[in-house]
Every structure is written in C-alpha cells, then in structure tokens.
C-alpha cells in the first residue's frame, strides 16, 4: 500500500533520515519504534506531506505522493498528533465536523449522526458539547482520533500516542487501535516497548535515522541483532 524508497531527509546539514526503504501492506499494524531523536516523527510527517523536502520516493497506492494533491492525500492518510492539536475555539462536535462539513457536501444530520457514533465508539459521547480545555489528556486524544476518523482515512498515523497516558488509558487506547486496524492501516510511532506485544503486527526499528530491523512481530522477537536485544530488555 505504501512503499518507501531510499528516503533521506536533512534539516540544514544534519541528516535525520538516512536512506530508508520499506513496504507497508494494507491493514498492517505497523509500530515504528526507536529512541527519542531517531527520526520517527520526521518519517511519518513525510508520509503526510507535512515535510516535502526530502530525497527518495514515497509511493502510495502505486502513485508517488508528490503527484497526489496534498489535500487529497491528507484525507486518505490521516494523522493524530502527539500534542493532539485540537482546535480550542471549537467544541468537540465542531472539531470533529469541521473538515467533513467544509470539505464534503454531507448534510448536517448525517454529520451529527456520524459524530455521535464516533464519540460513542471512543466512549466520550457525553463530552460532545465541551470545549477542549475542559477535557483530560486521554479524552483530548480520543477527540483527536475521532476528528481524524471523520475523514474516513485509509491510513492513520499516530505519533507517540501512549506518551501522555496513564496505564489504564493505554489499555483502552491499545484496544481501540486494534479495533481501528480492521478498517484502516495503522502506523504508530513510539518508544513504548509494551506496544510490541499488545499492538504490533509489524515492527520497524529505527535508530539515528537508519533502519536497524524490519519484520513481523515474531521475527523481531527472535532477532539476534544485539541492538534490538538490548532494546527489548
């Protein structure tokens, strides 16, 4: 579904991603894992075209993403930001409906129905008319996820989704991620090792901008690469 070929990305003179190549299949649950500063966020920002200045190619459904209109690609490859970036001047409902109401010709009733369904699926339907500032971190995240889902994306990128959550919320997030993976390809960027066992079907290890290992969960767990063994401990 997505092919990344010889991707390199620099900020100024520092090379952040170094010649990265791998494939992502439809309905993969891909976990991109690596120490902080290794280039994980930069990698998924390239997939979403928030970064465009790179060498190499990113192919989405047989098309170079450079040849796909930004707005179109971003609706198909949605992103849930690490800091959620909810719109503070809009209610939960308005946050979720902003894109579909302005960018599609769906009618109000349909949208309302869909929003309610989305919020029910993430268990915060009672917050529908709240403003973001009145939500906890975990609730904000679920609104951010619903907002992305409202576009019916085929791929969803998550940046460090567990970093601000308590263990209980992590459990329900993982459940939700596994649920979502039935409908979309999920790519999670994290340095949280527990996601290897609880979530991933495939794992990409990245360190200092280079791929150390890429494979299925089973392959990674059996890996003899000393760096990974050290990591998994």
């Amino acid at each position: 579904m997505i092919t990344i070929k010889n991707l390199s990305k620099s900020y100024g003179k520092t090379e952040i991603l170094k010649n990265i190549s791998f494939d992502i299949e439809k309905n993969d649950k891909l976990l991109i894992i690596g120490p902080s500063g290794s280039g994980k966020t930069t990698l998924i920002r390239c997939l979403n075209k928030l970064e465009k200045d790179y060498q190499g190619e990113i192919i989405f459904k047989k098309k170079n993403i450079k040849d796909i209109k930004d707005e179109l690609l971003r609706k198909k490859i949605g992103m849930v930001f690490q800091s959620y970036n909810l719109f503070p001047h809009l209610t939960v409902k308005e946050n979720i409906e902003l894109a579909p109401s302005k960018l599609t010709n769906a009618n109000k009733e349909e949208l309302s129905k869909k929003t309610l369904k989305l919020l029910k699926s993430v268990n915060i339907e009672e917050k529908i008319n709240e403003y973001p500032k009145n939500l906890s971190g975990g609730q904000k995240q679920r609104v951010a996820i619903s907002r992305t889902l409202a576009n019916n994306p085929e791929v969803i990128l998550f940046d460090e989704p567990t970093s601000a959550l308590d263990p209980e919320s992590i459990k329900s997030l993982v459940k939700l991620l596994n649920e979502l993976s039935k409908k979309a390809t999920i790519i999670v960027v994290s340095h949280d090792m527990s996601l290897i066992k609880s979530f991933a079907s495939k794992i990409l290890f990245i360190d200092k901008g280079k791929i150390i290992e890429y494979g299925t969960k089973e392959e990674i767990l059996k890996s003899t690469n000393p760096k990974i063994k050290k990591f998994l401990k």
Partner: protein, 241 residues
C-alpha cells in the same frame, strides 16, 4: 453665600455661551458627527488593510509566497510608523489631492485609515504568530488547504487574541483624528477652538470636548471588554492544547 451664588451664575453663563448661545451645540454635534464618521471610516479601512497585510506576511513566512508584496508591505509599515500622522494627512491633502475637490472628510478617512493600517497590520501579525504551529498542521492534515486553514482555524483564534491591542489602536486613532482641523475638517477639537475664539474663554469648550472624547473612548473599551469576556467564557486558547 454671595460668592457662592456668583460662582454658579458664572458657570451657567459660560456654559450658556459655549453650548447654547447662537446654537453652538449644533457646532459641537456637527464636530462629533465628523469625528465619528472619520474614526469609523478609518477604523474599517485600517482594519481591512491590517488583516490583508498580516495575511500576506504570514503567507510569505509560512509558504515563502508573495515575496514582492511582502516587501511592499514592510516598506509601507516602516514609512507609516516612522513619520508623524499629521504630516501624512498634510501630504495626502496638499500634495496627492492638491487639484481635486474631494470632501476633506474622505481625505481624513484615507489618511487615518492608511496610518492605522500599518499599526493594525503589526497587531494582527503578532496575533497570527501567537497561534501554535500545531494548529496550522492539524488543519492541513485534515485536508484543508492553506487559505481554508487560515479562514476556519487560525484567523478566528488570532483575531480573538488581537482584541485587546486592536482596541487600543482604535482609541489611539480616534484621539489622533483631533489633528484633522489642520486641513479644515470641522471635527471636535477644531470646534472647541472655534467656540473658544468667540467666547474668549478656553476652559469650557476644551473641557466639554475632552469629556466627549473620553466618553467615546471609554464606551469603546467597555464594549471590547464585554466581547472579550463573552469569548473567554467559551474557550481559552492561551492554554496549550
């Protein structure tokens, strides 16, 4: 007792001469009308200019587009901010519209609007810059293009953040229109001068006009405070989201 009565008789006498004699209240009302027309016109023109310029500058900063326009805007802002408003008014009146018979009030609106536009542009620019970059990226990542992201996500928040400073700018502008008498516009300050020259007493005309300015600016800032409070009940985007 006698001196007390004398004092009040004198006050009334002065008030009568300043406001009522020869229908001078009509002069004052006319001055108020001209001050208000000029101020409101200039506020509208200045705000429009300010918003447009701040958007051009933002577009240049974020997308690297509109390079030449951005340069023009910067030049405009530094020239306007670097010269006195009275001088700008006289240049427009005596040089640019030298030969035309255009209504001086229109010239006042143009001069004060163009002047205020430079200050408003800086206010809206910093309002736009006060919005976290994540907001822009969130908008883009949902499939909005840059203009729509600005329209639906960035501008509403930035305008709200700009309210206190833009209110100050409006108040400054209203007070600055008091120099328009130089080009013969019968605005409030000019009217006070005219009345004083007839009554040979400056105290009353000046105080009365000062009170009128104060009431206008005070009312304006009360309205803004109310609007700000209303918007604050709903959301608070100073908090990081």
């Amino acid at each position: 007792m006698e001196s007390f009565a004398k004092f009040w008789i004198e006050v009334f006498d002065n008030f009568y001469k300043t406001v009522i004699f020869e229908q001078r209240y009509e002069l004052i009302l006319n001055g108020l009308k001209n001050t208000l027309i000029m101020s409101i016109g200039a506020i509208i023109l200045g705000s429009l200019l300010g918003i447009i310029i701040s958007l051009i500058k933002h577009n240049y900063k974020i997308n690297g587009k509109m390079k030449i326009l951005n340069k023009i805007c910067n030049t405009y802002i530094s020239i306007i901010r670097g010269t006195p408003v009275l001088l700008q008014l006289m240049i427009i009146y005596y040089i640019i519209f030298k030969t035309s018979t255009i209504n001086p009030i229109i010239i006042g609106i143009l001069a004060f609007g163009i002047n205020s536009g430079a200050y408003s542009a800086e206010i809206f620019r910093s309002g736009l810059e006060s919005i976290d970059k994540g907001q822009l990226e969130a908008g883009l990542s949902l499939g909005f293009n840059y203009p729509k992201t600005m329209k639906y996500i960035i501008l509403p928040q930035a305008l709200k953040n700009s309210l206190p400073s833009i209110c100050n700018e409006f108040i400054t502008l209203i007070k600055e229109t008091s120099v328009a008498g130089y080009i013969g516009i019968m605005e409030l300050t000019k009217v006070s001068d005219i009345i004083a020259s007839k009554t040979y007493n400056y105290f009353f005309p000046l105080i009365i006009i000062a009170v009128i300015y104060f009431l206008i600016t005070n009312l304006l800032s009360k309205i803004f405070k109310k609007v700000e409070r209303k918007l604050d009940i709903n959301d608070n985007n100073k908090e990081s989201i």
